[in-house]
Amino acid sequence: MKNDTTPHPFDGEPSFEDLQPYFDEQASRIADIIDSMGGRPPAINPSAATTNRRRALRAWGVLSLFFLVVSIYWGIALWHLVDDIYVRIFSIFLEVVFIVIATKAIVTIISILRRSPYRCRDTRGRFLMTRYSPHSLGASLLSNATIGFAASIFLVIISATTTVGDGLFLTKNMNQDTRIETIETIEYTLNHMG
């Protein structure tokens, strides 16, 4: 540009009449560009990486929703399964924690997906989309889900194996003496049936 000797239209003190052709030429060029784009300004195309992240987030969102539904069902099943009040309280507490984690994951994913990656930036100027790694978010959710399920199954097994004798006792206010008494009643009845 330093070697460009073409007189600039704004050199010196041009009048409005002198600049008018320049403005007309620029306006015509812009109009041609807009027409070539179909009459609309050019759209911002997200990068392939951002698109992939969005898809991964959606997939984890669906999985989170599935885990949320299953955890609610599991909590209800546990309530009907065991009658011990302490086991119930602890298992329901676990399920509530798990439901909160799954819900938060879903809400976070939805809020990220609803935002345009080119409008939202954090304080460092990075796009909001790039801050959240979908796989780390999903892996975190999956690990929480696994821990929640494993803990619930562990509780069920404990409540089943701590009974005396055979079978799973589902009686209100069951204690050791009541269990023994019930088993003895059943065995007595079986042996004397006629």
């Binding site: 992939n52 898809r55 991964a56 997939a59 984890w60 669906v62 999985l63 599935f66 299953v70 099943a77 009907h80 399964l81 979908p134 796989h135 999903g138 999956l142 069920v156 089943a160 004798g165 055979d166 079978g167 799973l168 006792f169 589902l170 009686t171 209100k172 069951m174 009541t178 019930t182 088993i183 009643t185 059943i186 007595y188 009845t189 079986l190 042996n191 004397h192 049936m193 006629g194």
Partner: protein, 165 residues
């Protein structure tokens, strides 16, 4: 990008397979609920109710059992009325009063304490009543084989004991 979907599909298949496993072999995973009889008598005054899921009759068979124990005379009268227990004759009553227990067995339709089950009813309740102890045990069987094993349990024990001698 495909990995999350692969993981999702694998987990879904595992969960669906687990669900089929639970439905196909319900006794393996204790998802069953208490019996209706237990729920009816659980909070009743004068009756102590217990429910045992998967009580092992022998090494291979396990059944659900509801145990009802009358705590007092009014509870026993309630059970006698609800289960249509027979009125004992004087001879039988004297034996019981003398301390000799008689455990009466009856096969009743599932969910109906008074109606006798048919011979080909697969799901029914084997009711065993001890008049001396004022207890009723309901064995909730789900097949003719289970029914037969429970019915002939004491007989099988006697035969085995006599063989050992």
């Amino acid at each position: 990008m495909k990995r999350p979907w692969i993981i999702t599909i694998i987990i879904c298949l595992l969960l669906i397979g687990g669900g089929i496993f639970v439905i196909r072999w319900p006794r393996t995973v204790p998802f069953g609920q208490c019996s209706e009889v237990y729920r009816k008598y659980a909070g009743m005054e004068g009756v102590k109710a217990s429910f045992v899921k998967d009580f092992y009759i022998n090494d291979t068979l396990c059944v659900d059992v509801t145990v009802l124990v009358a705590a007092d005379t009014s509870g026993w009268n309630t059970l006698k009325n609800d289960f249509c227990l027979p009125v004992l004759d004087s001879v039988t009553q004297r034996k019981i009063d003398s301390g000799k227990d008689l455990v009466f067995m009856a096969i009743r339709k599932k969910g109906n304490c008074c109606e006798t089950a048919d011979l080909d009813d697969t799901e029914c309740d084997v009711r065993a009543t001890s008049f001396l102890n004022r207890t009723i045990c309901l064995f909730h069987v789900k097949s003719l084989k289970e029914r037969s094993i429970v019915e002939h349990y004491s007989l099988d024990i006697s035969i085995n004991n006599s063989k050992k001698k």
